[in-house]
Structures are given as structure tokens and as C-alpha cells.
Symmetry: C2
Subunit: 605 residues, 2 copies
């Protein structure tokens, strides 16, 4: 019996397994959720991985069909077709992972030398006496000065607690300094923590970081509670403009949720929110404005002007965030009305990728999709109103990526293979499944280039609601209503993908490039990161390019927020990126209507 | 009939009056309240004035008795004995004014070139469009940059309102800048106002200032509402330490009162609190701490350590003061536990006086009295626990300086002459009256050097409460209880004046000076400014010096707060003064007990 060590680099899992198993079987044995539909027969192409090191079996016929010789040279393989012949290190791209696995991947770390804007210093101060009447604040500043730290201010909230604390600690304290200001004090055993937040319209991700080591101590994701007042941004802005107190409510919802998340993170790590001495928040421009209760009327109507674009450093207490009361919340800069700090954070965390190549497309797909084209030292960005279809909304049987959602789908002649989240009985289709479905229907000739669904397949039927393709029939669901893809669903996805594709085209036109010249496509965000890129190319949402030019980077915005939190130079880079970006308002782009119409066709551009 | 123009310089009143009247009669005719008890017979010496210009009658025998030749050369006269012989300009020292007049004098102005820390700039901004998508905040900063004003921050509270306001003003605005931060915006017609506050333990004085002209637009004084929780500082600190929520209550009382005062001042001037873009507050260390809700335990117990000594610039919203929300409140620096920013403000406003002479004593008399000795480039300060006797508390018939209080008193053999506030029927004695009474009783031989009251006057009687001197008898009050000075009252004043005198002595000893070397005594504060200096010398509260060395300067702390508000260089001077002062803790001074015992004797040192 042979035993090989298999190391899943991207996930941080590894283990010894018995030989004579495929990499897919190894993965499942070690609890790594690689997507697979066809049962390991090399038919669904879901389980694409990359062998970084180690000897493996020769490519099979299936693999020779799906990968180019170049890709094969890079070690790209189907996990179900590949057998280890020694210890192996391999990379599972997010797109090949099952949803539950993806949530664990959120913690991708980028190596950066920690250099937080908040520094801490231990001081041992002499106790006051009748012959040493120095005031407490000046005593602290002198203690710092003795360590050659020139500070001239102590935040008033710190002063409100310092006197009794210093005495209870017998004049030994840890002093937290930001710039030339003391923003917190703690006992000498206190930690130096930070909070990074990716404030999405749909999802909020929060990370508790150790500012000294740069390490992520805990991470949590929740739905944005504002969602109940509008799935998309415009609905929420309208709510604020129409309802008295709407702005206050929107702010309260988010701040309360952030404070709850913070408490959970702190409990998990065994600390208190007042040990958190800095926070960084990245959100799109609307989330940014709603968080800070900034006016939104000028943002909601053309020409969509933000109240502020640049980075803000405000006192935590002015934001309502319950970290150390003297600490700052650093709000990353926006680019324009609909390209916000989340995109800046994404560009920041992927800078190493786009800096190396000459033409890079960086996409964050969501209800609103932000796209940047980086080439020739220039960054040009657009915002595309892709709508909520990718999130499963406005789709007859659409649903979010939770248990029972069909997340992968393949059609081979009469057989429909699919994979559901948690391998539960299917209850609906989530975004990546819908994309797969339409791509497969197009490849099968059921949906034509214009998006029309033909009645040329035995699973197509016409009923009151129009034409639809039966993914899971009533019989297959034991009498429950069938799960179908309707003609309307196809139209909704066409509009959504057309918005993204037209944005890409406007950027290419503006910089005078053809799509073939794109060296690399970086795809970020909860949805975009986990779609099947081939399907996205098939339906013409992404330009047709060799697969190895695509890189799905997960929650890059959250990663960017973390980087800006733990590193001052990264935070300066964020500001520099935001100021460099040339924003193009799509509606004002030449021939935009024409481009958009073309882009809504399946298989176009 | 002759008509002369009489100009009362200190009060800003002048007018033409018929000749052949004394200056006192002129004053009363013009509504200037000069104190007088003896009915203009040159007996009470209350009406001391200084003729600055103009011809007047020769000194009478009374005047030759009360003034030295030097003083007469300086134009010092009794108003009741002096007749104009042409147009006259004269100065009425605060000590010679009646109480109601004093309130009007609060507005003494010191000439200073306005140079407020907040500057304002009118900007005319281009409106945004599809081809000019600049965010609102960056648009404002660019508008300033075009005027070569380098600003890099806009306060978050300003941002919360700026977008709709800019649009309503058609992009024409006045921008208020402090350092490199925009702290407020207004329409181009808005004013640039500031608030100066002298936050006393007993009285709060607030001034609404025009920051551009340096002019005082309105002034108001009220009782400190914390007074209800303790007349003296220690009682209030104990309340905070013993009662849960006591600190919050103390802060709320003062902040609510300040906001009420602010609203009144604004209404008087026809403006809104949000036109007030800067505030300066000066208070003693305890008031300072209670205002900011700083911890006070370490301040209440030896060695009496302030939480902070240096000047603070905090956001108005962090203090609770309802001026423009992005504006700053500048809290003047403290010196030590019981010598606060009010004394710094007093030293600031009187700097021109003490800078010129070699040895100057600066005194602020109150429940707590602060005394500084300035000589040889050094400032040495002490704090004396003089208690509330000077304010009329702990005195049997003591009362505050309001209607019916005896404020001046003279004893000539059997006759008691007195002056009451508003010339109402007497109801009690206020501080200056008590000082006069004890001085007169000592001069009359009724109270000896040790403070014992002798039974050698027909108005002295012994009753259950002990020995007392009848100022107004039951008969003279138509059957109401007599107003008396008791043996206990004398003891209370001895302790109070002893505290002040011993403080002065410790300062003289520390700098190796005798009291005769003092070139000038500056007396500030509500009480100290309006006492009869001769009486204060008679009872040995102040060192015996020629009268012309004394200068009573009214509410110098309020004046100092105003100066620091309208002038950055004055504000820097305040900081410099506070850091220069060498503070001596009386309890730790050599031989202090001995000095104190000696200082409580009447007519000593």
C-alpha cells in the first residue's frame, strides 16, 4: 500500500492518503470540497485544479479535450482524472470549490509586513507625589518622550478613563499612538487589535486582526440588514430620500450589525471591543454614504456626485462603532458615484497581479459590477448596473447560495447532472448554477444567440408563464413543483451579463484595445469568484480568452481592507490608486446604447 | 449757567451737565453708579475716582487726609469733594462703583488685533455635471486651493450637511477653516462668531464675539447651576465621588446652562448657534474636569493631581456644546490641581500690567483664591482655600450681592452709615460690606488684633448666639430681626483672609521678597475687584501698600478667554504662561502652619 502526502495549498489543508485514488477522492477524504457533478467520469469539467509540484499520472482523453497544451504544461488537470505518483502540492481555484469550502477560503492571506498606523509602547511611570505634581496626561506624554516618541495630544475619551486606570495598573501601561495622538491606553498585557470590514450591499464581512503580527484572528460574514429595505442600492437610496428618518435607520441597521459582529469576533478570540484600536471599512459609495449618514440625494440622481471621495479618518465615536472610544475608523476612498472603496480595496489587494502585466481586467461582479482596465500605467473604471439576477433574484427558481441550491449544472444529451450545496435535495438554482444552465442550454442548441429558447428538447415545455426548460421535474422532486429555467430567466441573465460585457467593451474602446490583448482577468467578489469561467465565456459575459488568463481571487475587497488596516504603506497605496483611476460614466460613453444591445446577445462579443 | 462735558472713560458714558455740582452729583445725574454712603460729606471715602484730564477744584481737607501727595498728583480724588472747572475725563475704579454699575463694566475691552484660529473664505464653485464628476468635498477643497488655502480635511459633521446646502446656495459658500481642516460652511452672508466662557464655580460669564472684528457682541452672566450641589469645589467633587452618575449630572448641568446662555446670546444678536465656529472656555481645574467629565478622584485627594494640565482643543460635539457641529472648543490650560485655566486667563489679560513692573502680585479672590507673584521673569502661584465667607456664606446675615445687600459701611462714633444695592431697605450684608464692617470695627477698637469683639460700644450686645455688633437694629428695621456682625462672622472672615494673606506670604518668602517691594497688586474676580482695598488692607488681607499700587480689573478671566478666542498669538501666550508657572502646594511650604496662624490675626502681617 502506498501513502502520499497531498497538500492543498490554497486551503491550508494537507494529509497522507492511500494511493491508487484520484486527486478528487483524496480531496473528499481530507474534507476538501472540490465541485464534481459527473461522479468522477471526466465529463463535467467542474474539478479543475492545478498541480504545482509532484509527480502525477498522464493526462486522459477528457483532459486533452478541455485543456490546451500550454495549460497542461502549467499543471492544469481535472482532479477526477489525475492520480498522484508521489507527494503532491496542488492549488484548487475558488471556481472549482463547493460553496461550503468557499466560505473557509475567505481567509486567504496576503503577505505584508505589519506596519499599522497605531503603534503601542509600554511605559512605566513614576507615581505622583507632593514633590512631583505633574498632571496625568503630561506624565503619559513624558513617558513616551523618554522613549523618543513625540506625542502632543491625548484623545479626550482616553483622558476620561486614564487617571483611575493608571493607578489601578500601578503606573505601568501600554499606550497606543496614532500619528502624534494617544488613541487608547491599556494594561501592559493588552493586545493591539484591528477590525477590517468589507461592507457590501448584500454581505458584510468583518475580520478581527492582530495589528502586530498582521494575522487574521477571526472572520465573520453576515447579510447586510439594509437588504430588507431594498436589494439594490437605488431602492435603498430612494427609501432614504422618501422616508423621514430613513437615513438614520439605514445607518443604525449597519452600525448595530457591525457592533454585533465585532462582539462575536471578540468573544471568539477572548477579547473586548476596547482592545480594538483601529478599524478600516471598505464599501461601495452608497454603503459608504449610508454608513456615515452622508447626504445621498446628489448621489441618487445624475450626475451621481458623492459627498466625498477621499479617504476619511474619523473618530470611532463619530461613526457609532464601539471599538476603543479614542480610536479612528479609516474609511477607504471612493472613486465615483458607483465605484466605491470596495473596488479600491480590491484593486489594492490584487495590485501584485495587475502591476506585472500590461493589460489587466479587474472585475467585481455583484448587483452593481465595477470593472477596471489597467494598462499602460492607467486605470480606467466603469460601473455596470448588473442587477440582482446573479444573486438569484428575479429568477423564477433562483435562490442564494445556501443548502439545496444547484450550483453546478451540465447537460449531456438527455442527462442533466447537477451539484447542490451540501449535496442536499435540490430546492432552487443559485447564481453560478444559472450561469452554467444558460451556457449549457446554449451549447445544447436550446437557447440561440438572441436568447430565444427553442422547443427542440424533450425537457422544454410551454405553459402559462411561457416557455421553460425543466432542470428537475415534478416526478424527480416527488410531486413538488419542477425547478425550471424560463425564457424570462434567460432574458434577465442576458441583461445582467450584457451590463458587465458592455462595461468591459467601453473600457477596451476607451483605451483602444481589443479583448484578445487582455493578459489577465482578475475576478473578485462573492459571486464572480466562484462562477465557472467557461460558462461565463460561453454566454459572453466575459471575453473569450484562454482559461489560464483568469484568476478568481475571492473576497478581494475584504483582503484589501485588511491590508490597509495592518499596513500604512498599503493604506497610502489605496489612496494613490483611488486618485489615479479615470472613471467613465457609462451613460455618457459614445455609442453606449449600441454596445449594450450587442452585449446582451448570448455568445457575443 | 455753565455746562461741562464729563466723560466716564471706564464705563463709556458721557454727557453735558450743569456746573456747580460735584463729580458725584454729575455721575448720578448721568446714571453712573458711584458708591457713596455719607451723603457726599467726604466722610466714607467710597467715591474714589481718578481725574485723567481737565480742570477741577482744589483738594479739600478730607481728600488731603485720604490721599498721599503722589496720589493727588495722579488725579486721585473723592468724587463728592471735587467740582469740575471745565470738561473732564475721569476713571471710576471698579471698587468705587455700585453693584449694578459693575455688571455693566463686565464688557471692558482690551485692544488686540483679531487673528482667530478660524478663518473664513468665500468660494464660488462650478456646479458638477456629467463632464465634471468631482465629489462635493473635493470640490470645496479645490475652491480653497484656488485661493492658495491648503486644506486637506473636512469635518465629517460638515460633510453631513454640505451637499444639499451647497446646491441650495447655488455653489456660493463661506468656508470656515481651522488649521488645515474645514470646520463649518455657511452661506456667503453668514457671520464668523465665537463664544468665550469664564466658567466659575459660582458664576458663569459668556461672551458672544465677532471673530473678524474682535468685538464683543453680547455678554451674559448666570449662576453656575452646580452651585445647588455644593457651594465650594470640594463638596461638588465629593458629590461626584459618592453619587453614581454624579459626574454625568454635573456635566449636564453646566453644558445645558452653557447651551441656554448661547441661545440667549444668539437671540440677542439675531443669529444662530451654528454661526459660532469656535469657543474658548476658561475655568478652574475642578470646573474644567467637571465640564469634560474627566475623573476627579485624584484631584480631590492629596497630592491633588489633574487628569490633564495642557490646553485641549476638542470637537464641540465631544463637549456637548451646541455650536457649529464641526467646530472646536478650546479649553485653556490649567496650572495645577487648584490653580486652573481661569487664573491663566487672568494672567493673560493682565500681562501688560505685570510685564512692565518688577514685582507684581496677581490675585483672584473667591471660594478658592489663586495668587501669583511675578518677578524676575518668574511666575510663582499658590491656591488658597479661602472658603465661601467672602461670598456671604457662613456669615450670619451674609448674602450675595443683590438688592438690599449692604455693600459699603462706615462707622463714625455712634453713627453707622451704609449703602445698599439698589438703595433698597437693608436685608443683609454682602462680601464687600462684611469686609468694610470688620475693618471699621477694628479701626473703632471694637474688634482687636486677635479678632476678639470687645463689649465697648453701645451697639455691641451678648445674646444666646454669642457676642454681636448691631449694624441695623430691630427698631431701625421696623421690628424685623436685627442685621448684625457676630463674633463667629469675624472668625470666619479671619480664616478666609488668613488663607489669602498666608498664600501671599509663602510666595514672598519663596522669592525672597518683602511685601513693600511689590510694585503692583492686580485684583481680579467678581468679589475681589469690587472690595474696598483700604478695608482689605486694614484687616490684613492684603499687604499694606500705597493705594495707587492696586488695580482692580474686574472679570479678567473672562477677558482672558475672549483674548484667547480672537487671537491665536494670545492663545499661544496662555499656553506659554501656564507652562512657565511654578506652582507651590501651600500645605508643603516650609512653616506654613505658623504663617497661617499669624495671617489670621487682624491687621497682620
Amino acid at each position: 500500500m502506498k501513502f502520499y502526502q497531498i497538500n492543498f495549498k490554497s486551503i491550508g489543508k494537507s494529509g497522507k492518503c492511500e494511493g491508487d485514488q484520484s486527486l478528487l477522492d483524496y480531496a473528499h477524504q481530507l474534507g476538501v470540497g472540490i465541485a464534481s457533478i459527473c461522479g468522477g467520469h471526466g465529463r463535467c469539467y467542474c474539478c479543475k485544479v492545478q498541480v504545482l509540484e509532484g509527480a502525477v499520472s498522464e493526462p486522459t482523453a477528457s483532459e486533452l479535450k478541455v485543456f490546451s497544451p500550454q495549460e497542461l504544461r502549467e499543471g492544469r488537470r481535472l482532479a477526477c482524472q489525475t492520480y498522484p505518483e508521489g507527494d503532491v502540492e496542488l492549488l484548487v481555484p475558488p471556481g472549482a470549490m463547493t460553496t461550503m469550502q468557499r466560505l473557509q477560503v475567505e481567509g486567504f492571506e496576503i503577505a505584508v509586513t505589519p506596519d499599522s498606523p497605531v503603534r503601542s509602547y509600554n511605559v512605566c511611570l513614576p507615581a505622583p507625589s507632593m514633590s512631583d505634581l505633574q498632571a496625568d496626561a503630561e506624565r503619559i506624554l513624558e513617558g513616551l518622550k523618554n522613549q523618543r516618541i513625540n506625542c502632543n495630544t491625548i484623545d479626550i475619551e482616553v483622558l476620561k478613563n486614564a487617571s483611575p486606570l493608571l493607578r489601578s495598573w500601578d503606573w505601568k501601561a501600554k499606550v497606543f499612538v496614532r500619528g502624534s495622538e494617544v488613541v487608547a491606553i491599556g494594561s501592559q498585557s493588552s493586545r493591539q487589535l484591528g477590525l477590517a470590514v468589507d461592507l457590501g450591499s448584500t454581505k458584510i464581512a468583518a475580520y478581527l486582526m492582530d495589528l502586530e503580527s498582521g494575522e487574521t484572528l477571526a472572520a465573520r460574514g453576515v447579510m447586510n440588514p439594509q437588504f430588507a429595505y431594498g436589494e439594490d442600492i437605488i431602492t435603498r437610496l430612494s427609501f432614504v430620500l422618501e422616508k423621514g428618518g430613513g437615513g438614520r435607520l439605514m445607518q443604525k441597521l449597519v452600525i448595530d450589525e457591525l457592533n454585533r459582529l465585532l462582539l462575536e469576533l471578540c468573544t471568539e478570540v477572548g477579547t473586548q471591543p476596547d482592545e480594538v484600536v483601529e478599524a478600516v471599512i471598505a464599501g461601495n459609495t452608497a454603503m459608504h454614504h449610508l454608513l456615515l449618514k452622508l447626504p445621498v440625494k446628489q448621489l441618487a440622481y445624475a450626475p451621481y456626485i458623492p459627498a466625498v471621495k477621499g479617504a476619511l479618518a474619523i473618530k470611532a465615536r463619530d461613526s457609532g462603532l464601539s471599538i476603543a472610544p479614542g480610536a479612528y475608523v479609516h474609511i477607504l476612498p471612493n472613486i465615483a458615484g458607483f465605484v466605491g472603496a470596495d473596488h479600491v480595496a480590491m484593486l489594492l489587494s490584487t495590485k501584485e497581479i495587475w502591476q506585472k502585466e500590461d493589460l489587466v481586467l479587474a472585475i467585481d461582479i455583484g448587483t452593481n459590477s465595477e470593472v477596471s482596465l489597467i494598462g499602460n500605467g492607467e486605470i480606467t473604471s466603469v460601473s455596470c448596473a448588473s442587477g440582482p439576477a446573479f444573486e438569484g433574484a428575479e429568477i423564477k427558481d433562483g435562490m442564494r447560495a445556501t443548502t439545496g441550491a444547484i450550483e453546478r449544472l451540465r447537460i449531456s444529451n438527455d442527462v442533466i447532472d447537477y451539484l447542490t450545496i451540501d449535496e442536499a435535495k435540490p430546492v432552487g438554482i443559485c447564481g453560478s448554477g444559472i450561469l452554467d444552465a444558460i451556457a449549457q442550454l446554449h451549447l445544447a442548441g436550446v437557447v440561440d444567440k438572441s436568447g430565444r429558447m427553442l422547443n427542440n428538447h424533450h425537457r422544454v415545455r410551454d405553459n402559462e408563464g411561457g416557455r421553460e426548460f425543466i432542470v428537475v421535474s415534478e416526478e424527480e422532486r416527488d410531486g413538488l413543483p419542477a425547478i425550471t429555467i424560463t425564457q424570462n430567466d434567460v432574458r434577465a441573465i442576458q441583461l445582467a451579463k450584457g451590463a458587465v460585457r458592455s462595461g468591459i467593451q467601453v473600457l477596451l474602446d476607451a483605451q483602444n484595445h481589443s479583448s484578445e490583448e487582455i493578459k489577465r482577468v482578475v475576478i473578485a467578489g462573492a459571486f464572480g469568484s466562484y462562477i465557472d469561467v467557461s460558462s461565463a465565456m460561453t454566454i459572453g459575459m466575459l471575453p473569450s480568452l484562454p482559461l489560464n488568463r483568469f484568476e478568481q481571487v475571492g473576497n478581494a475587497a475584504g483582503m484589501g481592507a485588511k491590508l490597509a488596516l495592518v499596513s500604512r504603506s498599503k493604506s497610502a497605496e489605496a489612496q494613490e490608486i483611488a486618485s489615479r483611476v479615470h472613471y467613465i460614466e457609462l451613460a455618457a460613453a459614445p455609442d453606449y446604447a449600441k454596445i449594450l444591445v450587442k452585449a446582451t446577445n448570448i455568445d457575443e462579443y
